[in-house]
């Protein structure tokens, strides 16, 4: 009786632990959409996306720039989240150096990712003016710097 109970627990633990390892396909290339540059000047963020695309640590990228201010959000494979802060800082430094920029914000925060996705979609649909982009980028940058 005790053996049966113990083995049930054993398998429960086993399944729970294995379950964590399941869909972690890190080998894929990062996914991102290049924004059309016809109406808004998003060349810089497209270049940054291309630059980050070769990185193995990144699964999805979005980026929006207002002039020379850039916000980049990345998602990384789940098992690499232990080095989240290190990866973020390294990428920020790399981008600043590569493109010679001062104001770059690399974020991995879920909220920033959501907000930036919304902004990208609005730029894609051309439902936003240059001024509004500037305002939104400023707002999201402020949000990403908020601390508890």
């Amino acid at each position: 009786m005790i053996k049966l109970k113990n083995s049930i627990y054993f398998f429960l633990i086993l399944f729970f632990l294995i379950g964590c390892q399941a869909n972690d396909n890190a080998a894929n290339d990062p996914s991102f959409t290049k924004l059309s540059t016809t109406s808004h000047n998003q060349h810089l963020s497209n270049q940054i996306k291309d630059y980050l695309a070769s990185d193995k640590d990144v699964t999805t990228i979005s980026a929006v720039n207002a002039g020379k201010d850039v916000i980049v959000t990345i998602e990384i494979p789940h098992m690499k989240r232990f080095r989240l802060a290190t990866i973020r800082e390294k990428l920020e430094k790399d981008i600043k150096k590569e493109f010679n920029l001062d104001k770059v914000e690399v974020s991995t925060d879920q909220k920033i990712i959501m907000e930036l996705d919304k902004l990208e979609k609005r730029i894609e649909r051309d439902a936003i003016t240059e001024d509004e982009i500037k305002k939104e980028v400023g707002r999201i940058m402020k949000l990403s710097k908020e601390e508890t």
């Binding site: 925060d109 909220k111 920033i112 959501m114 949000l143 990403s144 908020e146 601390e147 508890t148």
Partner: protein, 156 residues
Amino acid sequence: MNNDKSKTAEEQNYHKLQQKKELKRPVILNCFKAFFVGGFICLIGQVITTFYIYFFDFTEQTAGNPTVATIIFFTMLLTGFGLYDKLGQFAGAGSAVPVTGFGNAVISTAIEHRTEGFILGVGSNMFKLAGSVIVYGVFSAFIIAIIKTLFMKWMG
């Protein structure tokens, strides 16, 4: 037992018999209960965090504060209605370790000492148990911060 010599033979026999008949504490079962109930409380917390991130202007960084407030508010209700006691009996550490346990410790003492008045009763007894959580929490945070600072200095 190490003081066997002071006992008579009869007492020793009884001790053996008692040990044989004594109910064993189901440690592993308790661990599982604590694990699942504690995990479930954390799941609820994660749902609330996600709710705040999606529907309000909170980032992952800042969503923690309103989450803790919400969870403690619900714990207050559960404690007041006497439901958290039952959960605590069932789950043990699983209900005590998350922040809900802290809330429960504050609120239940506040309820208990209400009859002694607000100043000498509620006010002075509220942090009877929670006070030690705060003291040792702050103290261990201090120690860890010192260790971290030293490590950062040495390692570069």
